[in-house]
Symmetry: C2
Amino acid sequence: MLDVVFYEMFEEEKEAIKRFLPKDVKAQFIAQTVQGQNKSFPPAKVISIRTQSRIPPSWAPHLKGILTRSQGYDHLASYCRESGIHIPCGYLGDYCSRAVAEQAVIAMMVLLRKLKKQIRVFEIFSRDRLTGAECRGRHALIVGVGCIGAQIVDIAQGLRMEVKGVDIAPKLKDIEYVSLNEGIRWADVVFCACCLTEQTRGMLHYRVLRKARKGLIFINIARGEISPIEDLERLLSEGILGGLSLDVYEQESAVADYFKGHRRSANAVIKKILKLKDRDGVLFTPHNAFNTQEALEAKARLSAQAVQYFLQKETFPLAVPNC
Amino acid sequence: MLDVVFYEMFEEEKEAIKRFLPKDVKAQFIAQTVQGQNKSFPPAKVISIRTQSRIPPSWAPHLKGILTRSQGYDHLASYCRESGIHIPCGYLGDYCSRAVAEQAVIAMMVLLRKLKKQIRVFEIFSRDRLTGAECRGRHALIVGVGCIGAQIVDIAQGLRMEVKGVDIAPKLKDIEYVSLNEGIRWADVVFCACCLTEQTRGMLHYRVLRKARKGLIFINIARGEISPIEDLERLLSEGILGGLSLDVYEQESAVADYFKGHRRSANAVIKKILKLKDRDGVLFTPHNAFNTQEALEAKARLSAQAVQYFLQKETFPLAVPNC
């Protein structure tokens, strides 16, 4: 009998988890999602997924515990609520905030320095219209100063930028918190780093961002739904945005499916992405900001610890509320 | 009669210098290099170049002054030495150290996070083999801790890297200085930021760099001649280098001529560049690290001041030694 089955497992993660898991834990590692494997009965009483598995309702009575290997746990809360059965569920603590923050800052610097164009015109060794802007002294606004936002603050201050934050619950002592409108008018760069909630959905829309100084750099490493791409495209075309970097997208699973596979029937979001992606002032990455050796290592360690803890105590170190 | 002719002038720089130069100074602005224009006689007694012009030896007797619009002046020192004629030459004070340092750090981050590949595989929204490395905690070795090197130290410390320096005359208090060999063995990233002198020419060659940890990131924003591209290519092919970024090149005027124009008869350096330039782990930029709004403004001001000063006093505020 298996102790635990891990779904949605890629090679590097599997190798790392194996290193952290005690030898006496009988574990199986599956690359597919739960629905991808399509089994009528769970292969173990404890399973671990990421965010793309859909667990059949019929599995619920046979499961003793579910671990999501992510910081978000909305999908497990929904599963428990909908199945009406109490299943202890766990999630992971902060494992990738620095990774995400560093990528957000790289994106900013790449846009400030027109690096895509620098690479492109290397072919003609030309420096016309290639003048960039320095970070030092510029104004960075962090919208959502949680785990990731706090790391962006740390890095931006290290680059000697001026930094302000927008947050419903200010926690940092060494930055000034301002209202969203005040911050947008002040900023040279806006980092979207807040959670997606009903309050933040669509929050950074056209009418909010158009108050910015001409040439604003906008970076979203949080969730695409917070800032509609239709609005961002309009702001670019009007010259209000001078640079745009996205690592996350509205309707991201449809976007990923489109680019990964069929490339048929692009929806409105995908059409905007296709229109913008090759521009010099636009940097799109495939939801990869989390992906560093350090973050993968931390994630594997936290995952192995959570499973081991559960096998001993039938509860997770970080338990999903109301499950 | 023209007072001064500026070569290697790009649009933004021209506009800025015109703003700073008094109206009574008769100046001409030429985008080409001196050899690109191919004249047998200098168009003015005072000329200003950047680093890619090769001034014909036959011009020497007719020149009263040469200003290089760069912080480095090795090319003018060579010209005077080789022509055997005393020509007052000037160079610029620090106008772009922060700009160069920021670009050096961007290059490092782009390579650590495989950003070229991230952009490329956005097309398939894939994250396979896309795991990068974080800056925080990594070891940065600055070879040559002068104006630019000191700014790289500042930024790297701001990113919470560990930093050591190599320099013949240590000046900073808050970093440890080590020997080149000790530093290379310790480093995750090496920044070449020293002047080109007879001591540093070829200094970062194969046998020195091969002592590095596997996967070293190497960045050169100083002069190509300090680290031969033939050696760098060998280190890449042997997996000792994990990433390479160059903003400067050996025989750079020939490199620039090749890419700007004829694309005929590539020399050995150009052949290596052509071989490497499109790789994911390689980032080549067209000697553009200096090119920010902040640096251009400072450079235009200093250039205009230096020319004006020379026209009045026949000497430059900063004179190249032994010219």
